[in-house]
Subunit: 292 residues, 2 copies
């Protein structure tokens, strides 16, 4: 685990040898050093060859100090420094909108640096109306022609699972709904739509707050409230949709507590950040009584 | 949804205006155009200024043809072309080891291009021995000093949840185990250890196949088989560990079917890829009987 590339403020490396450009990195508590080009002065006047020479000298220095890794942060408009770094052995770790981060492993053996995000997260909303036994289904205009599925889509950065479900259902169908539980998780690798990354698809149970369909023409060709029994019987549906329809039928008949993962919010011990935890509902006596 | 940046093979754009460098993109079925610099000839002799001029002309052409987005793939050693593209409005979409991908949105309104991976996935293994009521717990050397938690760590690219749990448990503790079920999912945003991305942490129930602890000194300061009742009572543990301990106690007393999400493998309709689906076990009659 660990928190590479985040700590900082543990001091700086020693001055580099005289005669090279001044590349002082910031030390981290894992034995790495971090160099952020946005913080260097006079960057516009520095050419790529001088940078490469300076970086080579700095690497030698860091190696002699026993540093095990280098993180290099480069603003997109200064990307002329990427190829010189790559020719010294740096690789991309990741890039976001306006900057990239490269790494070089100096330690023994294979790199122990943490990777970047490995999954995209999609969420589908199974909007089920208990009073009428109707379930909201769509046919996707782009992908799954004539197959009934649940409305849904990709989580936006920083968005909670339940919020994605409610937002996507509304965007695609015009139906307002409320998060009730998490029902199912699918993990898939090498999905061609995920740029070679993995895909986590989560289906939530939602309760409708409105009933008038207002379809998004961009995304859906059809949308309707279907009797749950008909979705269970339907041939033109995906295996996951069919399975979740059966799960909902089980819950509808024998109680949703049989199928629901409920959500609770907790606060992390070290960071103080809030997070959401999903699992089968725990009876109250198990939650509260200490030392059972 | 959709599968941007993956299709290709739908023909090429028209020839660019004479006098600029030859930047012919590949069309995709979503109305975008994709330009892979690795496929251009004579790239080494092309300078950044000529590239910028050629790209500007090509964008004008693509715009006039009604293309709505441009994808630009650049090998790391050709990164001198990034800044010129950025000055024409391109941003990084993502980067992997030896190449980066930039995008420019030409359509109306805000970009509808899909984002990149948003989550890292970690997995913890709750190795519980029913016959002795003992659970395997560790104290992390780096992060959670003196707090009992379950062994675990980040999924490697393309690795299944259950495999991560079994691998991490073995690496940290030397205990061999077998995947039984998925118990709990935590979603957390802006975790400082995740480079600003979100974090999905999944806890699995594992059954031990060996019992002799062989601790990894890099990662753990302590490891032991603890009575489950003691973990439920423990003060020096994280909220998630404590909650999952209570969940396990509930399952131990009243049946693990109360808490387990079991796993099944399916095959995707369109891609033919296999994937794993987790949800509360569905009684056999609900799985098999059509048209209930």
């Amino acid at each position: 685990a660990g928190s590479w590339g985040t700590s900082g403020g543990q001091g700086y490396t020693q001055d580099p040898p005289v005669g090279t450009c001044d590349l002082r990195g910031e030390l981290d508590r894992f034995g790495g050093v971090s160099l952020n080009l946005a913080r260097l002065g006079a960057l516009d006047r520095l050419d790529a060859a001088a940078f490469q020479k300076g970086l080579q000298a700095a690497i030698q220095q860091w190696r002699s100090e026993g540093r095990i890794a280098v993180w290099l942060h480069i603003p997109i408009l200064q990307s002329r420094f990427i190829a010189p770094a790559a020719s010294l052995g740096f690789c991309f770790h990741h890039a976001k909108s306006d900057s990239s981060t490269l790494t070089l492993w100096l330690g023994e053996g294979p790199s122990r640096l943490p990777g970047y995000a490995t999954h995209q997260v999609g969420v589908g909303g199974a909007v089920f109306d208990e009073s009428t036994r109707k379930i909201l289904v769509v046919q996707d205009r782009n992908q799954l022609k004539n197959m009934w599925t649940f409305p849904g889509g990709m989580s936006e950065p920083g968005e909670d699972i339940g919020d994605t479900a409610v937002r996507e259902v509304f965007e695609e169908t015009g139906i307002k709904s409320e998060f009730k539980s998490l029902l199912s998780i699918r993990q898939q690798h090498a999905n061609p739509g995920a740029f070679g990354k993995s895909d986590m698809y989560i289906i939530c149970r939602l309760q409708p707050c409105s009933f008038t369909i207002n379809i998004c023409q961009h995304e859906c060709s059809r949308c309707e409230w279907m009797d749950l029994n008909d979705l269970v019987k339907a041939k033109n549906t995906t295996p996951v949709t069919s399975r979740v329809a059966r799960l909902l039928l089980y819950g509808y008949r024998e109680g949703f507590d049989k199928i629901d993962l409920t959500m609770e919010e907790f606060q992390a011990v070290h960071t103080g950040l809030f997070y959401k935890l999903f699992h089968k509902e725990l009876p109250a006596n198990y939650k509260t009584i200490p030392g059972m």
